[in-house]
Amino acid sequence: MGDINDFLDFVLLREPNIVYVVVGTLLIGASSGLIGTFAFLKKTSLLGDAISHSALPGVCLAFMYMQEKNAIFLLLGSFVSGWIATLLVEWISRRTKLKNDTAIALILSFFFGVGIFLLTIIQNGGQAAQSGLNNFLVGKAAAIQRFDIYIFSGVALLIIFFVVTFYRPLKIMVFDRDYALSIGLPVRILEFLLNSAIVLAIAVGIQAVGVILMAALLISPAAAARFWTYKLSRLLVIAASIGAFSGWFGAFVSYTAPDMPTGPWIVTSLSVFAIGSAFFAPGSGMISRIKLQQSNSRKMLSENILKSLFQILEGRDANSHDWIKKSTLFEHRFFDRIKFQKGIRTLDKKHFIIIDGDKIRLTKQGWAESKRIVRLHRLWELYLYEKMNLAADHIHPNAETMEHILTPELEKILIKELDYPEKDPHQSKIPE
């Protein structure tokens, strides 16, 4: 790794060369993230993997023809062979019995095989100028020349311009192709443009990431963004930002540690975003979903305690504030001892119960709350019995869960649909 000066040079953009690399990788990352979102939404992101592998023979042939690393020709070469690969995948999956995934894997490995073959021929041919071609495999942002940067930035800007200009028709087409056709959008032209933009983004992106890992620059930003929003405009902004940051990060590593290929670091950054989002994003992330499930089971437990208290009191025909022994509760219903302690602590905090040693009694709010739960339980039992034609001895287990989730709104609907009932199917009174 480089020293602290390299680090500062890079972050503070102290050299003009660094400015070019940073601007270039930021734009490459952003444009790939942007256009990749559409590939992601069309569920064709693995086609992107095939296209990027297929760029390699194009790059090699362009080099063999020009005998030098001319950025324009290399770009053209990868663009053309990327397009050919796209068409072949489409042809094969439409015209033969081979399925889409087989067609993708077939073209991917064939083109890459040819690419490797050509690359080794160039290398063994011993031209001095070939030294840079290897960088197309796993990427080397720091090797990008100033002239290249102009071109790549131009192309990246073109892609961004395309997405911004055609935002609305693209949105309609990606979400509902048939609808887009029905309102007379030029879907075929749009698809051609979108595919071209994807191939172009790949042709540029392989400079930084390399052909093997390029797919990640298309897929991962969109996949990460998906956990944060469902709105297309925000999805695009987030994906572009993640792509841009990761591109910058890869260039940074490449600058401070010249032996390091750029691609893997860009991909590592992207993957951390994607997998991190899968875990930590609020709402749809796994952690928050697990928390929600835990709070559900806590809610069920404490509500079950309240319900048992109500049922015991109901059986005794006693006053709602009578003390009840904990042991009586355990006789009434099975509770896990440890969880039970947690449950009554929660209820205590909410002022639903008052605890005195091994005795418990309901407060006024606790009584109302316990009535509500029993009411929901019995309403639901009645609903299963009357509207779903279930036998009276089969309705209890389901009601045990539903009592915890029915909202006041649903409760109103239930009462109305059941025509203001008084008794449940077991002839127990439904409490007010």
């Binding site: 019995k97 089971s297 069920m300 299963l384 279930l390 089969h394 309705i395 287990p397 539903m402 989730i405």
Partner: protein, 268 residues
């Protein structure tokens, strides 16, 4: 008359995909020796139901018994005819190969077929009138012929209960009457046929009993008593408002279908 046994018993089955229930508290007993139709609109859970009955899908709550036993003990007594579209017909296999799959069992996968297997396979193919095509690749067959191959495969299983998923979809008239003829023959042999079907017009013609389904059981019994205007309105007039809302809530709030202790208890 001989007393009829219960062939299939579903006890409070609830099945959810992604926590959203597609079957709600399905509960019934089906007697053996009948041709039973499972009827309902698209997306009403018909396929999910028979897959659950066969133990292909494990329900989130409730349990199934076949001939009074847990399904794994009576696997050899059930046969399955899946939806025709559920497989890739380009698969490299001949009619004979596919029907031979009906002779596979969990514990004979490492064996070769014996003469008895081969005899049964040929007979089954004969019964559906596919003998002329026995070596044909399955992708070259018409829809009706493909359906017959699936029927022959289930016949080769020599089971007592047959679960069929939409066997009449996309078949020609000749295949349809062939299937009906087979159904009658099998019924006369005392077999039970449980058939997913969606065409209301032909229900009374095909079935002894129907189960009207729309995520919940609307009604089950003899055809005439089930196909009333009220029942049909209930089945085809959309799902119950309350059920839909509760289903959405369960999914949104990551709620379990059953509390853990009840899950345990229901498996006894």
């Amino acid at each position: 008359m001989k007393e009829r046994k219960v062939a299939v018993e579903a006890h409070n089955i609830t099945v959810a995909y992604d926590r959203q229930p597609v079957l709600w508290e399905v509960d019934f007993e089906m007697n053996e020796g009948n041709i039973i139709g499972i009827i309902g609109p698209n997306g009403s859970g018909k396929t999910t139901l028979i897959k659950t009955l066969m133990g292909v899908i494990t329900p989130d709550s409730g349990y199934v018994e076949v001939f009074g036993a847990e399904i794994n003990r009576v696997r050899d007594q059930i046969a399955y005819v899946p939806q025709r579209e559920s497989v890739d017909w380009d698969f490299p296999a001949s009619v004979y190969d596919v029907v031979m799959m009906g002779r596979f069992r969990k514990n004979n996968l490492f064996h070769r077929s014996n003469t008895n297997d081969r005899k049964i396979v040929r007979e089954s193919i004969e019964k559906v009138g596919m003998t002329p095509y026995i070596n044909r690749q399955i992708g070259q067959l018409s829809g009706g012929q493909q359906q017959r191959v699936f029927l022959a495969r289930s016949l080769a299983q020599e089971a007592d209960i047959y679960f069929m998923d939409e066997p009449f979809v996309g078949v020609d008239a000749a295949t349809e009457s062939a299937i009906l003829e087979l159904m009658t023959t099998m019924k006369n042999l005392g077999k039970t046929l449980i058939i997913v079907h969606h065409d209301l017009q032909t229900v009374s013609e095909y079935f002894d009993e129907v189960l009207l389904l729309n995520t919940r059981v609307i009604d089950y019994g003899p055809v005439n008593s089930v196909l009333t205007d009220d029942n049909l309105k209930a089945a085809y007039g959309g799902q119950l408002n309350v059920l839909t809302k509760v289903g959405d809530l369960l999914k949104k709030r990551e709620f379990p279908i059953r509390e853990k202790e009840f899950k345990k208890r229901s498996k006894s």
